[in-house]
Structure formats: C-alpha cells, structure tokens
C-alpha cells in the first residue's frame, strides 16, 4: 500500500501484505460480480454496446477525488502526503498505445484476465500467458528500451498545475465532464444494437 497510513506509522509495516491481499480479493470479487471476467464487457467500449468500463473508471476517479477533497477539508487526511506516480511523457504515450492494442485484441485488462482465470476461462489464461511473455521480453531487452523508458520525466506532475488552474475548479470541471460522458455513453448505448452475453 502506498500510504499515507503505513508511512505515517498508523498501520504497522508488517500488515502491508495482508492488507494488499484483502484489497486484492475484494477487487477481484467486485470485478467478477460486475461481469468483468467476460472479455465482451471490455470489448463493448470499443464497439459501443456497453460503456460500463468507462463508467467504472470515471466513477472511481471522481468518487475518490471528491472523497480526498472533503477528507482534506475536514482535516482527516493530508492531501500533500499522498504519493503521486512520476509522469514519464514518452513512455506513457507509447505504453498507452501498446496497452490499448492489448485491450482491443485480447478483451481483457491484466486485472480482469486474472478474474477470468479464477472462473476457468481459457481465453483469459492465454491472455495472461501473453502478459508474462511480454514481461519477459521487456525485461530481457530492457537495456534497449531503457532510454525511452526513462525519457521525459516530469516528476509528480499535476494536470491543474500544467493548466494553471485552481485544483478545486479542475475537480468541478472533471465531475461535470464525467457526468456529461455518462450521459453521452447512455445515448450511444441506446442507438447501438444490444449484444447479449
């Protein structure tokens, strides 16, 4: 877990893996319960018959964001203590394209492929096998990719800083954009022929 509870010593370090396991089990259960173990779910986003992936990701993002803002405002947590992944521009773009192809071709993301394996789906097993092959190739050829992998580091970049916006204004606009997107997605879903699965 990245924190801030463990680095601050609220939860002892030894509980790290236990909490990770429990969160992972819960995450996998939620994925399977909402039908993500079927590759047709993710493909729905590309073919326009099911936008649940888009809704899940944006709901998670705006819910967590709203929670963080209010918790910070109440003084329950310190937003500045949160760990932010460093942003590598080039590797983010290229990695995003590769991962997008993987999504569209395989119909899984790494997490959903494991839930697929858990319920015995053969396509999920093949997908995960490919995942490990990809990891192996990347690791073996790392010296070749190293320059690209580490290029364009912008540190813990924040989009509202780059836009020169107040963070609260950006949060509000993101919520409005997400709700607008949900509405648009529902509109498209209605137009496109329903796929049963």
């Amino acid at each position: 877990m990245i924190g801030p509870l463990i680095p601050m010593g609220v939860i002892p370090e030894t509980w790290n893996n236990v909490i990770a396991l429990l969160l992972g089990v819960g995450f996998g259960f939620a994925l399977e319960a909402s039908g993500f173990s079927s590759s047709r779910k993710i493909m729905g986003t590309f073919f326009g018959y099911d936008f649940v992936v888009l809704r899940v990701f944006f709901t998670a993002a705006i819910t967590a964001m709203t929670g963080i803002f209010y918790f910070d405002y109440m003084g329950w947590m310190d937003m500045s203590m949160l760990y932010i992944n460093p942003y590598y521009v080039m590797s983010a773009i290229i990695g995003g394209i590769i991962m997008g192809f993987g999504f569209a071709l395989g119909g899984f993301c790494p997490g959903t492929s494991f839930t697929g394996i858990a319920i015995g789906k053969i396509d999920a097993m093949v997908f995960s096998g490919g995942l490990f092959i990809g990891v192996f190739i990347f690791s073996e050829l790392y010296p070749l990719f190293q320059g690209l992998y580490n290029s364009g580091n912008m540190g813990a970049a924040k989009i509202y800083d780059l836009l020169g916006m107040r963070e609260t204004v950006f949060a509000f606009l993101l919520i409005v954009a997400a709700v607008g997107m949900f509405y648009g997605a529902a509109f498209v879903e209605k137009k496109v022929k329903k796929v049963e699965y």
Binding site: F69, S80, I175, A186
Partner: protein, 206 residues
C-alpha cells in the same frame, strides 16, 4: 434515463459545487514538523573536522564546504577550499542555485556550531538533500589541524597517526602553522553552477 442515475449524478455534481467553494490551500512545500524534529534529533549530520580535512586533502569533488559566517570573517580566515554564503543571504537566488546541486555534499561551518546548525535546519526545512554540519566549526578546525597538539610519548599508535595526519594536512594547506596563523585575504572563489532538472521520485505504483 434511469432515475437512480439522475439522483447519483445530481449528488456528485452538488459535491463538486461544494469543492468549488473550498478555500485555496497553502501549497508551500515544507518539511513536516514531525519529520523535521526527527531529523534534528539525528546526529548523523555532524561530520568531524578530521573527516572534512581528509576529504579536502584528497580533493573530493563531491564536497562543497560552505562558510556561513559574515564575509568579513570569511576574508579574515577561512578553511582553504570553502565558499562563503553568509547565513543572512541564505535565501538569495544565487545561494539557492549553489545549494540546489543535488550531487554535492554541502557541509556548513561557522565559528562554532550555532550558526551552521541553524543554517542546516533552514535548509532541511526547504527540503535540501545531502547537507551536513562540520562539528566544532572553524575554531575546532584551527585548534586541531593548524595547532595540532603532539600526543604524549605513551599515547596509542592511533593518536600518533592522527597527529601525523593533522600536521601533514596543515602543511598541505599552508606550508607551516605559522603561515596559517597570520590573517590573510582569501579571494572569493567563483562557483559555476550546473543546473539540473529535478530527479525522479522513488518508484511505486499500482
């Protein structure tokens, strides 16, 4: 459109409007008081005069010895190889450029420990890395290196070795202790600053 969706969308937008009215945060980057206290408690920032002298003699390229006394004091006497950043000009842009060189070990010294340690705390609070204090300051340096006391004949070998080292270091810097004792004008050294972009934060992620 489903009524439940409309309700949820309404709630999240209302919460978003609430966020809009939150006061602007003070985003100044400063060390947390708890972390600062822990860092002040930790004596590892203190480096001994002998250790610094050894690195000076060996011309350690990563060592940046910084005299935080007034310029007049610095000119009257300073440790060879030191640069002068008076404590009161610590926040000036030029001083910041010098201090922000991440690959250098910045070692502060003053007459004794007080000013250098205060400088250290301020720099720590600004989030600077690799900062140290030369314990005892220039007084101790002068008394141990320049006026090195010869140990008794019965002293252990280590004490004799240390004495030999101090005498040799003094000769390296000044030729003889008498020359060092005479105040002289030290020309201010020019420091070329290599600007570096901020390094990557520690790894992690999902």
């Amino acid at each position: 459109m489903n009524k439940r969706y409309m309700l949820l969308a309404g709630i999240i937008i209302a919460l978003g409007v609430g966020i809009l009215f939150m006061p602007a945060k003070d985003t100044a980057k400063q060390t947390q008081p708890e972390l600062l206290l822990a860092a002040i408690d930790d004596p590892s920032r203190f480096l001994s005069t002998d250790d610094i002298t050894d690195r000076l003699v060996k011309k350690d390229p990563a060592l940046m010895l910084i005299d935080v006394r007034y310029e007049s004091q610095f000119k009257a006497f300073s440790i060879p190889g030191a640069i002068n950043i008076p404590a009161d000009s610590l926040l000036s842009a030029s001083a910041q450029e010098i201090l922000n060189q991440k690959e250098m070990d910045k070692v502060f010294y003053s007459n004794a420990d007080v000013t250098s340690d205060q400088t250290w705390i301020i720099c720590k609070r600004m989030g600077l890395q690799r900062i140290y204090v030369m314990q005892g300051g220039v007084n101790k340096w002068f008394n141990t290196i320049v006026k090195a006391e010869k140990p008794a004949e019965t002293a252990p070998t280590e004490a004799m070795d240390l004495y030999q080292f101090r005498v040799a270091a003094c000769q390296h810097f000044f030729g003889s202790p008498e020359m060092a004792a005479a105040p002289k004008v030290v020309e201010k050294q020019k420091v070329t600053v290599v600007k570096k972009t901020s390094g990557a934060a520690s790894g992690g992620g999902c």
